[in-house]
Structure formats: structure tokens, C-alpha cells
Amino acid sequence: MIKRYLSFMAPIITFLLLLFAWELIVNFQNIPKYILPAPTDIFTSFLLNYSDLLRSTFITFRITFFAFMIASLLAIFIAILFSQSKIIELSLYPIAVIFQVTPVVAIAPLILIWVGLDNAEFAILILAVIVAFFPVLANTNLGIRSVEKNLSELFSLYEANRFQRLFKLQLPYALPFILTGMKTSIGLALIGSVVAEFVAGSGTSTGLAWRIIEAGNRLDVPKLFAALILLVVLGVILFLIMSLLEKILLKRWDIDKS
């Protein structure tokens, strides 16, 4: 019980001690706010700007969420196509790899031109989808291909058709793999939406990346830190939600997936 309590409290106490040390160093060394603001300065800045910051957080969340959903559904659909036809896989997989290895900042201007400068948010969405897409595709593909030979033979013995095999064996079997891909993908969707906003700007809507740029330009470093912290918190919450979802959905699976 004490051990459990300690393992829960230890990281929190360490974090609070670090914040305290940070506060002390900044105050005693008289470090200017535009170099390194104290935690209390950041908190004050958050209170002063919370309406803007929370609105931006919501915008970033919205883009991240939709990018993640679109990327996941598209990737699973394409992985299913791959499983049905080797020719489709051989034709499309290299294109997916090309998208994966191309830095998003390099194609951002192009996407922005194509969708129009007025549609910056749509451009960011496309870029975030491109970044988040590949891990789900690769993992789903791997999961579908990893079906045990004996299970596959069992379905052959029972004369299962293509759809029965896909929906009653391959996809459920691949679920742990799909969720692993989605856990990676949700973080990448957030990174993608932030990086894309840095490059493409945000047009009419302003996400957290834009707040960071804006605060940086004005040397309002406490606000910059506040936006950064919100970004981290958003990323952690999204990851935790995915982890929880994984835990609920995989309750039925053996750890060794046997």
C-alpha cells in the first residue's frame, strides 16, 4: 500500500520540487522574463490570456482529432485493400512510403497553394493527416499479415469466404497492432498540426502554434511557455485517452495474443 502510494506520489513531488527550484533560481539570479520566466510568471500569463489560449487549444485539438480520425480510417481502409490484393499493395505502398519520408514542412507550401491561402486550416488538416497516416497503415498491414497459420487454416477448413475471414479473423486479430499504430499516430497528428501551422499560418483560426509564434515575436516568453505547456498537456491527454481505449478494447486479448 505504502509502496503504491509512493510510486504515485514520487513523480508529483519531484515535479513540484523542480518547479520550486526553477522559481528560486529565476528569482535569485534575476533572470529576465524574456529569457526564462518563473513558473509563477507563466501561471499569471495563463490567467491573463486564458480565453485566447484555451480557444487556440481547442482549435489545435479539433484539427488534431479530425486529422487523427481521417488518417486512421483511411489507413485501415487502405491496409484492408492491401490484404485483398497483392497488386494493390505493390502499387500503393511505395506512394505511402514517399509521403512518410517527405518532411511535412517541405510540402506545406505546396499544399497551401493547392487548397488556397484562404483555407489554411484545411491545409493544416491535410498535412497532419499525411504525418499521422503511416503508423496506422504499417501496423494494420502487419497485424493482418501476422494472423497465425493454424487459425488461417482453420478458417480455410470451415470454408470461410473473404469477408468472413477479414471481419471475423484478420481485423480482430490485427486490433492490438492497429491500436499501437493509432497510439503513435495521435501524437504525430498533434505534431503535424503544430508544425503545419508554423509553416502555413492559420488563416482565420489560430491554433496553439500561432500563439507560440505570436508570443515569440513579441518576446512575451511567459505566454509562449503557457502555450507550450498547454500543448504538452493536450498531447499527454490524447495519449492517455488512446492508452485507456487500448486497455478497454484489449481486455479480451491474451498478453501474448495467442
Binding site: 497465425e148 493454424n150 487459425l151 487454416e153 482453420l154 478458417f155 480455410s156 477448413l157 470451415y158 470454408e159 470461410a160 468472413q164 471475423k168 479473423l169 480482430p172 486479430y173 486490433l175 479480451r252 486479448w253 491474451d254 495474443k257 495467442s258
Partner: protein, 242 residues
């Protein structure tokens, strides 16, 4: 039940053959042999999962029987409950659609899993999982049961219990069993007939009829039981040393 007529199987190299074999209806046949002798390939050929490179398989009345296959691992779907795993053949095979849920419950109770119907596979022991696998095979009214080292991964007590339960199921049903094993004792204990296979490529080295029945419970095995075990062990040893 079925006949193998000069069956050959090769992938990059010859795996099996020539094998000619006649399996009688309602018989219990064990297949013994070292690893790589093609025992599993023989079962897959018998089940029509793979096709022979040459030769033919002739089923009685030219009709493929209802085949149950029990693999070395239980091949259960981990996301399905025990009862849903047993019901799988009814969902997949059109001719099995009429099989009822009551029948699945019946077979689960037959293999000693009454009350475990709604458990998940990861809540069962290795022996229990194998019992589900046997129940699933029997549920679909199979007349030919192919078993590929099904008890190899189990402890001795579970293994002995399952062997006896399997014999009981075989005796009480119209069932032909083809049972692959590494264990000479298991082969002699279970079967009426033991086929010994050589490797590279797999061929039938000997075909031994077991007439005397065994009595495990009181520990009194017949002298024939032991002499057959010695005989088969010597064949396997000789085959391995060549």
C-alpha cells in the same frame, strides 16, 4: 473412410511420398515419426487444406466427410468466449448453419467445461483450451477427426485425462481419428493402428496393428502393450540413426 493413392507432395524439395494408405471407417490411427517426417503434411492432405503434387485422395462414396481439425495449439480466437469459439463453424460454413447453440453447450459439457461457456480463452488452462478445441471439432458433426500433436504442450496428468476422454468420445461416436504424435506410448495407448513414418521424404515405414487394449487406471498394461512400445521405439531409433 478414405484412401491415399500414391500421394506425393513437394514444395522446393520432396516432402512426402509415395504414400498409399487405406484408413478404415471408425478406426483410430496414430501416426508416429520424427520431426520433418511430414506427419502434419499428411494430415493437411487428408483434410484437403493442401493438394498433393501427384496422386489422389479418394473419400468413401466420393464425398468429402465433415472434417474436424485439432491443431497443436488450441487455435481459439482470444476475443471470443468459449461458447462463441465452439459456434464458429456454424457461423462460417453454410452446411453447419443449422447446428444449434444447445449442441455447442452439449459438447462443452461432454469435454468437462460446463460452466465455462462464457469464459474467455485467456481465463482457461492449457488443457481446458484444448478441450474447447475438441468440442469445436465435434460440434460440427465431424466424422473424421484429424489431430496434430494436440496434447504435446500439456503436463502429463492433463494429457492422460484428455487421452482417456478422447477415447471415450471416439468409442461413443461414429468417428475416425487420425492422431499425429511424437510419443510412442501415446500412439500405442490410443490407437488400433500405428503408422511409423520415415523422413526426407516422408514415407510409411511400418504399419503396426495394436490388438490388446490398455488399462491405465489399475496400471496393468498387457505384455503386448510393452512389446509394441519397444518395437516401435526401436524402429524410430533405427530410422534416426540412418
Amino acid at each position: 473412410m478414405f484412401k491415399f493413392n500414391k500421394i506425393y507432395k513437394e514444395y522446393d524439395a520432396p516432402i512426402l511420398g509415395p504414400i498409399s494408405l487405406d484408413i478404415k471407417k471408425n478406426s483410430f490411427v496414430s501416426i508416429l515419426g520424427s520431426s520433418g517426417a511430414g506427419k502434419s503434411t499428411l494430415l493437411r492432405l487428408a483434410s484437403d487444406l493442401i493438394k498433393p503434387t501427384s496422386g489422389s485422395i479418394e473419400y468413401a462414396n466420393n464425398e468429402k466427410p465433415n472434417i474436424g481439425f485439432v491443431f497443436q495449439d488450441p487455435t481459439l480466437l482470444p476475443w471470443r468466449t468459449v461458447i462463441d469459439n465452439v459456434l464458429l463453424p456454424a457461423e462460417l460454413t453454410s452446411k453447419n448453419k443449422k447446428l444449434s447453440k444447445e449442441k455447442a453447450y452439449f459438447w462443452l459439457s461432454k469435454v468437462g467445461l460446463e460452466g465455462k461457456e462464457n469464459s474467455l480463452p485467456n481465463q482457461l488452462s492449457g488443457g481446458q483450451k484444448m478441450r474447447v478445441s475438441i468440442a469445436r471439432a465435434m460440434f460440427q458433426d465431424c466424422s473424421l477427426l484429424l489431430m496434430d500433436e494436440p496434447f504435446a504442450a500439456l503436463d502429463e496428468v492433463s494429457r492422460n485425462k484428455l487421452e482417456d476422454d478422447l477415447l471415450d468420445i471416439w468409442k461413443k461416436n461414429e468417428l475416425t481419428v487420425l492422431f499425429v504424435t511424437h510419443s510412442v506410448t501415446e500412439a500405442v495407448y490410443l490407437a488400433q493402428r500405428v503408422l511409423v513414418m520415415s523422413s526426407n521424404p516422408g514415407k510409411i515405414l511400418d504399419d503396426v496393428i495394436i490388438t490388446e487394449k490398455r488399462l491405465r487406471d489399475d496400471g496393468q498394461q498387457s505384455s503386448e502393450f510393452f512389446s509394441k512400445i519397444n518395437y516401435l521405439t526401436n524402429i524410430l531409433k533405427k530410422e534416426k540413426s540412418e
